[in-house]
Every structure is written in structure tokens, then in C-alpha cells.
Amino acid sequence: MKKKKVDLLQGTLDLLVLKALALEPLHGLGVSRRIEQMTKGTFQVKPGSLFPALHRLEEAGWLQSSWGDSENNRRAKFYRLTKAGQQQLETETEDWQRIALAISSALKAT
């Protein structure tokens, strides 16, 4: 199963976004902050990658968006995980763990 570097990152990004929204709905900036926080600073998602990802996930039906007020009383678009999205998060998490396990055992082998 060959995946280009970009694809891998895209798939990973999707997973991270879904995870970021697992607890509560967030707006765009909030998602980016949360991902940075969750990955302990390893991934800093630029808007150029974030917005396409958000729209893609929304098209796929895993996120739902609505306009609301942010903490500074500014209008912002909030994203929320749908039931299908929750399902997808669980599936992708499982997949990811399986892959990670496989790769690390491959690397450990001599």
C-alpha cells in the first residue's frame, strides 16, 4: 500500500482534526491550537492545510458547521463532530494503532 508523503500527512491531519473535536466543538483557530497542544508542539497546522481539511471532512459528512460567537465575542464558524464522524474517528484510530504497531515491530526486527 503505497501512500505519497502528502497523502500520509493528509490522512494524519484528518485524524488529528477529528480527535481535536472529540470533546467539544471548536472554531478553526481553536482546532489548530488544540492540535498543537495535543501533539506537544510537533504539528503546527497552517490555515492553508487546515481549511481544506475542515471542508473536506464536512463534505464527507463527518463534521457539521455552524456560526457562533467566539470567546472574544467575535463571529466565528464552529465545527462539531457528527455521529458518523465519531465512528470514523474510532475506525481511523484503530487503523492507525495497527499500522504503528506493525511498523515498530518491523523496525525492531533485525
Binding site: 472554531h27 478553526g28 483557530l29 497552517k46 490555515p47 492553508g48 492545510s49 481549511f51 481544506p52 471542508h55 473536506r56 463534505e59 459528512g61 467566539s70 472574544n72 467575535r74 463571529r75 466565528a76 464558524k77
Partner: protein, 862 residues
């Protein structure tokens, strides 16, 4: 969408700026830092757009694959739909190829839209040849044209190695090739200083003639050939792409062939032919017409006797070539369009039936958030896919169809050789597929959008929408039947016209008459010699076994288009009228030998035929037809009166013959007079022989030997039976009738299939109801009757609608009909009965199936 994204990005920017300010940056620095971090607003937007674009394509691709899978899952349905569509689209493509090649394609000459065709109209003759004198005046007085030329046909005799051969030539003026902008393949074309009598004869030959006659001899240009016993130097060869009027074997200049001072150049002798011209750049057709109108008026006032009543007619060259066929072709195109509409209705019905069974599938998808538009689009994609499949198969059918069309089309259908399935046709077919796909896809798609997912899922499939779509389905059937009826009525009227034509009496008998043309110009240049030849020939022919009667005439065989006319001045009450210019009485003119009327079985109503002496000596006698006799001497005493026609000599009327009509023309022919051969011996004659046996062909060689026995140097051409020549004149009519009949038959078949389909479906739908009825004691016969009445109601509805439409529409067919009125009751009645019969047959099988319903199973069904 764009708006929202812009707002979202703005909001993001604001929040980021706020955060930076909180971190301690001043507002401007914060904003700048935020922008940098954002990475450029436009780029972000662009990236999102790209993703969305990719998604759209992906979804359309998904739709296509899904659609294809659906079609494969129901092969029966797909097969019927594709076949139906293939028939409709294929027929349209075939007819469109012809329409494209004949009507739409521009002519193959450079800037062909600048080329115009000029003729003269006079009274009821719509177009006739122009006289050379008039042409010269047109040429010198007009400013609108780059160049003008005349063109006419001219049979010449080419002698080579002692053998005489008849060649088909065109007589033109020097500017002809300049007008057409045609360049010779080898050599050169005519120069204006050659265009005079006495200049060394020159000719240009066509590439075909060069290859077949001279074997493509490269040394031919510069050599001299003998035409009509005169030397003509071959100065050039025209490429075979140049196809104007034939092309003929060769072109010669009119001035070199016709003697000045001879009848050729008299203003009232219309010998020059037709005029072809090229408009100057920037001059419109209307401007050209206006100028010619002024010139026409000038000429009428200058030469009232010869030009009175002339109207100069100018049309584009394309119009002159294809104008006559346009109406027929458009009629066929409309007819085949109706067939396609019926096919679409059938497929729409099929899809509607399927849509009902797929309602659950659609409802689930909508409930899962697919969005109505998405599902609608998927249905449309499926329909267009179906249409494209049908179109692909239809193209194959069309190829076949085009081959057949070209083979059986009337010979004189212009530009037929260019009928191919090329890019314009393919584009047309593609467009047609997409349109038809959307057209019949709309109904099930509309169906989808009307569904409320909850309703469907609750009731598990069937619902009120079934009834609604049932109404739509019935409407389609009624519409289908109506269209089929219109086509059937049209075809019926055409068929009846054709039958009437064959049965009609045109005033003569064409059976067993052999005709051929003899070119006597070279062999017998003088009048006495011509007369002698004629006498010898007729004598010899009389002796031949198998010959019942023979005669010679000018080439105006009865029933064909007349080209010989003259003006007459009858003696009324003992005096001749003073001729007012423009009021000459123009009549058709037959120049004949004795036995003409016997050969063609035209009855002599009063008086007698010519005697051979009168024919030979050219005595001042003539015969006229009944029309003429009745017109000028209504009391019936025409015999013995006199008519002047080409000179001051009064000619006595010795006989009155029956009227002869142009074949296939309802209108009475023009008045005709018959004068003896000896008065105007012709250098080119038609020989007509009535044979005793049916198979005239073995007599041909006997007749040819007879001619050659008198003079072996007389070329014979155009050997054909009169029946064949007449058949050629109605070939277009036969062609149209055949095609319309075919389309009507296809339409009827499709409508029958449609009725069958709908009835089948109805039976399946109402199985429960039928089961209940049977359980409650209904007889199979009652069920049968129930079904039959349902179908009859549909058929009658369509029939009524179709009949009304036919009543209104057939008035446009009047110009094609012969001996049949546009509202011929017999045709309407026959079609009605035919339709009812077919409708009953179509629903017979489903109705029988209804009677076989097992009530127990039916009741258990949900």
C-alpha cells in the same frame, strides 16, 4: 459558498490578531504577524477551491460508476431502453447527415456565399434561360459583380480515330472559372481575348475525362482534339475536386461555337443558358438584386418586344442547388424527431417504473444526508449515461442507415456524394444524447425530489407517489400514441398520393416505349440532309420486327419537364391580335413526325394526324391540344383555324389531341402545339419507339444497328424506357413516401411497446386488487375486460389527440399530395382502426396474465 469562506478566513485572522495582541504585540505588528502566519488569504482560498473541485469530479465519477453498476444490474431494462434510444437517435443521426451534407454544408468553392445564380422569370415559368444579348447588357451595366459568366449544357461529338462519340460539355463565357475561383490542375483556363468567334478553338477538360478518355496522358495539354468537326486545343485540365454541374467532360466557349449573326445572339433567343456571378466584396444580395431590378426595367423599356414581362431572378448558388429539396428534407427531419420523442417517452416510462421501485434507495440516501441535489444529479447522470449508450449503438445503426439512404436516394438529390458521418454529425449526436438523457431523466428525477424520506421508509416502499407517477405514465402513453398517429396519418396520405399517381391518367401511355437521343449535328449539317436522315431512319425502323410504331421528336417527351416553348398568335374571328409586348401567349412546343401520337397513344380527338409528306415537306399545318382549342375557340370550331408562331406564316390547325400532363403533377400542363418536323429539323432528336414485347432491351441493339446502317458516325446516347425516365421524376416522391412510411411504422411499434410496458406494469401493480376481485367471484373474462378497457382508454385518448393534431398539421403537406385532400377521411378512418387494433394486441398478453393471477398469492402480497 465563496462568501462564507471569506468570512471564515476573516474571522480566523481577527482571532489570530487578538491572540497576538494578548501576547504583547501592538495592533499593527500583530496584524502583520497574523497575516504572515495565515500564509496569504488568497492562497488559502485557492487551496480550498482546489479541494472542492477535486471533490466534484470525484463525485461525478462516482455517479457514473454507480450508474453503470445500476444499469448492469438490470440488464433487461437496460437492453430495452438502449435499443429504443438507439432506434430514435440513430434515425435522427442518419437524417441529419443528409441534411448537413445537402443543406448546411457550404459549397466547395472559395467564398461560395458570394456566388449567385441569375435566371429570368416570365409569367408562370419560374425560371428560364437567358439570351446572350441580355447577358451582355447585364455584364456591361452592372457594378455589383466581380465577374459574370453564362453556362449551359451542350452535347458535342468528339471524333477520334474515325469513331464518333457523344460528350457532355458545358458552354461558358471566358470568366466562368474566374467566377468559380477554380484553378486548373494543369495548364490554364480561358482568357478573355480567346472568347470570340474565329479565335483558335480552345477547351478545358475535366480530370475524370482526362483519365478515362486519354489515360491521363501528361502530353495532352497543348494537343488538339476534334469536336463537332472543328479543332480545339486542350489548354488545361480541371481537378476532380471541381464538381460544379457534373462536372462535364469538357468546357468550351460560347463565342467560339456559335456564329455571330446566327440565331444564337438574337435577343429573343434564349440560348446562352443560366448566368452565374460573384458579388463584389461588401455587396449584399439585396443590393445586387436592387441593381438588377433597375437594369431589368431599363431593358424592358429599351426592348419591349423581347424583354417585356421578364423578371430577373437572383438567388445564391447554394439556394439554386438545394432550394427545391429543403422542404422535403425538413419534413423528414421533423418526422424523425417525432420518432425520437416517442422513444424518449417510452424510456421515461421505463425509468418512472424503475424509480418507484428505487424509492427506498433514494429515501435512505436523502435521510443519510446526501442532499436532494446530489441524488437528483445521480439520477440525471444515469439517464445521460443510458442515452450515451443508446447513442453509441445508434451511431452504428446510422452508419448502416446512411449507406441505405445514399443508395436509394433519388439521383437528383444534390450533393449526395458528401453524405458522411463526420464531425458535425457526431457533435449533433452527442448533443442529442445529452438532451434526450436530460429530457427523459427529468421525470424520474422529479419523482425523487418529491419523496419525503420518512413516508417512504415507514411504509416500506409503495406509497401515494405510485398513483402520481401512474398519472404521469398514462400521460406519456397518450402523448406517444398521439405522436404516432400524426406520423401514421402523414405517411398514409403520402402512400395514398403515390397510389393515385400510379393510377392516374396523364394523357398518354408510357408502357413499352423505348427512347434514345441522336446527335445529328455533325453528320448532317444542313436541313435537307437532316430531313433525309429522318426519313430513312423511320422507314428502316418500320420494317423492324417488334416495332409497333416509331417517331422522332424534339426532346420534350410527354410527362417530363418541357423545355421547348414558343409564342403564338391565334386567328380569332378571322383576325390576328396586335401583339402587346409582354402579352405574348407562351405555349409548350412539340416538334414531331407522323406516328408520334400513335407511338405515345395520345388520342386524336378531332381532325387527323400529319401525313409523312407533310412532315417531310414541313407543310404549314399543326395540331393543338384540347386546352388550346377550348381556350381560343370555345365553340369547338378550332379545326381549320390558323395560328402564327415563329413567322408571319399562318399555320392551319388540322387536328386536336388530348391534353398531356406532367407526370406527378396535379396541375394541368401548359397548352401545347405540335408542328411537323420538316419545318424545323433538329440537329439533336429524341427517338421514341413503341415495342410490341415487354422486354424492350433486345430491341435496342437492333435499333442502333439500323441507325448505324444509315450513318455510323451518329452518336447515340441516353437510351432508356420512357417508364424509367418518368420514374426518375417521381423518385423524390417515392423516397419521401418510403421514409415516412418507415418512420410511421417504427413509431407504431414503439407506441405498441410502450402500451405493452405500461399495461404489464399496471397488472403487476394492481395484482392485489385483481386478486381481490377474483376472490370475490369475478370471472377471468371480467378481469380481461377491465384491463382491455384501461388500455383502450389510453389508446383512444391518444388517438383523439393525434387526430386533432393531424387535422391541424396536415395542411402543411398540401404541396406534396396528389389527388388526396389533406383531411382525407378514408385515411383517417383506416389509421384509427389500425391503431385500436394494435393497442388491443399490445395489451393482450398482459391482460391474459392478469386473468391468471392466483388470488391467494395476490392477497398475501403487501
Amino acid at each position: 459558498m465563496e462568501q462564507e469562506m471569506a468570512e471564515e478566513i476573516d474571522a480566523y485572522l481577527e482571532m489570530l490578531t487578538d491572540a497576538k495582541i494578548k501576547e504583547g504585540l501592538n495592533p499593527t505588528a500583530a496584524r502583520r504577524a497574523a497575516l504572515i502566519e495565515l500564509g496569504g488569504v488568497e492562497q488559502v482560498k485557492e487551496q480550498v477551491r482546489e479541494i472542492r473541485m477535486g471533490q466534484t469530479f470525484e463525485t461525478i465519477w462516482q455517479d457514473l460508476r454507480y450508474g453503470a453498476r445500476m444499469l448492469l444490474k438490470h440488464p433487461g431494462f437496460t437492453l430495452i431502453a438502449v435499443l429504443t434510444l438507439a432506434l430514435g437517435i440513430g434515425a435522427n443521426t442518419a437524417i441529419f447527415s443528409v441534411v448537413n451534407a445537402v443543406l448546411l454544408r457550404p459549397l466547395p468553392y472559395p467564398e461560395s456565399d458570394r456566388l449567385v445564380w441569375l435566371t429570368e422569370r416570365h409569367e408562370e415559368i419560374p425560371s428560364r434561360w437567358v439570351s446572350f444579348a441580355n447577358f451582355l447588357d447585364w455584364q456591361s451595366r452592372s457594378q455589383s459583380f466581380e465577374a459574370l459568366a453564362t453556362i449551359r449544357g451542350w452535347q458535342m461529338t468528339m471524333t477520334a480515330d474515325g469513331e464518333a462519340q457523344s460528350v457532355n460539355a458545358r458552354m461558358v463565357t471566358a470568366d466562368y472559372f474566374r467566377v468559380m475561383r477554380a484553378k486548373p490542375l494543369y495548364g490554364r483556363d480561358f482568357q478573355s481575348d480567346e472568347d470570340r468567334f474565329g479565335a483558335p478553338g480552345v477547351t478545358v477538360i475535366s480530370q475524370d475525362f482526362w483519365q478515362t478518355q486519354f489515360g491521363g496522358d501528361p502530353e495532352l495539354v497543348g494537343r488538339t482534339i476534334i469536336l463537332n468537326k472543328q479543332p480545339f486545343k486542350v489548354i488545361g485540365v480541371m481537378p476532380k475536386e471541381f464538381q460544379h454541374q457534373g462536372p462535364p467532360a469538357l468546357w468550351v466557349l460560347i463565342d467560339q461555337v456559335a456564329e455571330p449573326g446566327s440565331g444564337w445572339f438574337q435577343r429573343d433567343n434564349r440560348m446562352a443558358g443560366n448566368v452565374i456571378a460573384r458579388l463584389k466584396p461588401g455587396v449584399t444580395l439585396e443590393q445586387g438584386r436592387a441593381e438588377m431590378k433597375a437594369i431589368e426595367q431599363q431593358l424592358i423599356s429599351e426592348h419591349p418586344m423581347t424583354n417585356g414581362g421578364n423578371v430577373i431572378r437572383m438567388i445564391t448558388l447554394q439556394e439554386s442547388i438545394v432550394g427545391d429539396t429543403r422542404q422535403s428534407l425538413l419534413l423528414l427531419f421533423a418526422a424523425v424527431g417525432l420518432v425520437l420523442a416517442i422513444a424518449c417517452a417510452n424510456v421515461a416510462n421505463l425509468l418512472l417504473a424503475r424509480a418507484v421501485s428505487r424509492q427506498q434507495e433514494f429515501a435512505i440516501r436523502v435521510a443519510l444526508g446526501a442532499g436532494r441535489w446530489r441524488v437528483l444529479r445521480q439520477v440525471l447522470v444515469e439517464s445521460v449515461l443510458l442515452a450515451l449508450l443508446g447513442g453509441a449503438l445508434g451511431l452504428l445503426l446510422a452508419r448502416w442507415g446512411v449507406d441505405l439512404l445514399v443508395r436509394f436516394a433519388p439521383e437528383d438529390l444534390p450533393r449526395l456524394s458528401g453524405v458522411t458521418i463526420g464531425w458535425p454529425v457526431l457533435t449533433f449526436t452527442l448533443g442529442l444524447c445529452v438532451l434526450t438523457g436530460i429530457a427523459f431523466g427529468l421525470t424520474p428525477a422529479w419523482q425523487v425530489t418529491k419523496t419525503k424520506p420518512q413516508e417512504i421508509l415507514k411504509e416500506g416502499g409503495r406509497s401515494a407517489s405510485d398513483k402520481r407517477s401512474g398519472g404521469l405514465r398514462s400521460a406519456f402513453i397518450v402523448a406517444e400514441v398521439a405522436l404516432a398517429v400524426v406520423l401514421l396519418v402523414g405517411a398514409g396520405l403520402f402512400i395514398k398520393s403515390l397510389a393515385r399517381l400510379f393510377a392516374s391518367d396523364a394523357g398518354f401511355n408510357a408502357q413499352n416505349v423505348l427512347t434514345m437521343e441522336l446527335l445529328l449535328r455533325e453528320a448532317y449539317p444542313s436541313r435537307p440532309q437532316l430531313k433525309e436522315f429522318n426519313r430513312q431512319l423511320l422507314e428502316g425502323l418500320h420494317g423492324l420486327p417488334g416495332v409497333e410504331a416509331a417517331c422522332l421528336l424534339n426532346d420534350d417527351l410527354p410527362g417530363l419537364e418541357a423545355s421547348w416553348q414558343t409564342d403564338i398568335n391565334p386567328e380569332i374571328n378571322g383576325a390576328y391580335q396586335t401583339i402587346n409586348p409582354g402579352e405574348l401567349i407562351n405555349v409548350d412546343w412539340g416538334i414531331i413526325t407522323a406516328d408520334y401520337f400513335k407511338t405515345l397513344r395520345i388520342p386524336i380527338k378531332q381532325g387527323r394526324d400529319f401525313t409523312p409528306q407533310e412532315v417531310l415537306q414541313g407543310t404549314a399545318v399543326m395540331l393543338v391540344d384540347e386546352q388550346l382549342a377550348r381556350k381560343f375557340w370555345p365553340k369547338g370550331d378550332a379545326l381549320g383555324k390558323h395560328i402564327k408562331y415563329d413567322s408571319a406564316t399562318p399555320i392551319e390547325i388540322i387536328g386536336i389531341v388530348g391534353n398531356v400532363r406532367a407526370y406527378g403533377n396535379e396541375a394541368l400542363g401548359r397548352i401545347k402545339i405540335y408542328t411537323p418536323f420538316g419545318r424545323s429539323p433538329l440537329p439533336r432528336v429524341t427517338l421514341a419507339v413503341r415495342t410490341t414485347s415487354v422486354d424492350a432491351t433486345n430491341l435496342v441493339s437492333a435499333i442502333k444497328s439500323e441507325v448505324q446502317a444509315i450513318n455510323p458516325n451518329v452518336p447515340i446516347s441516353e437510351v432508356a424506357t420512357l417508364e424509367n425516365r418518368l420514374a426518375r421524376t417521381i423518385a423524390p416522391r417515392r423516397f419521401n413516401t418510403w421514409l415516412l412510411g418507415l418512420f410511421a411504422a417504427i413509431a407504431l411499434l414503439l407506441a405498441a411497446i410502450g402500451i405493452y410496458g405500461v399495461m404489464s406494469y399496471t397488472v403487476t401493480q394492481r395484482t392485489r386488487e385483481i386478486g381481490i376481485r377474483l376472490a370475490l367471484g369475478a370471472q377471468p373474462g371480467d378481469v380481461m375486460r377491465l384491463m382491455l378497457t384501461h388500455s383502450l382508454r389510453l389508446a383512444l385518448g391518444g388517438l383523439t389527440l393525434g387526430m386533432i393534431a393531424s387535422f391541424v398539421l396536415t395542411r402543411w403537406l398540401k404541396s406534396w399530395l396528389f389527388g388526396v385532400s389533406a383531411t382525407d377521411p378514408l385515411t383517417f378512418i383506416v389509421i384509427s382502426l389500425l391503431l385500436i387494433l394494435v393497442a388491443l394486441l399490445a395489451c393482450f398478453v398482459p391482460a391474459r396474465r392478469a386473468t391468471k393471477v392466483d388470488p391467494m398469492i395476490a392477497l398475501r402480497q403487501g
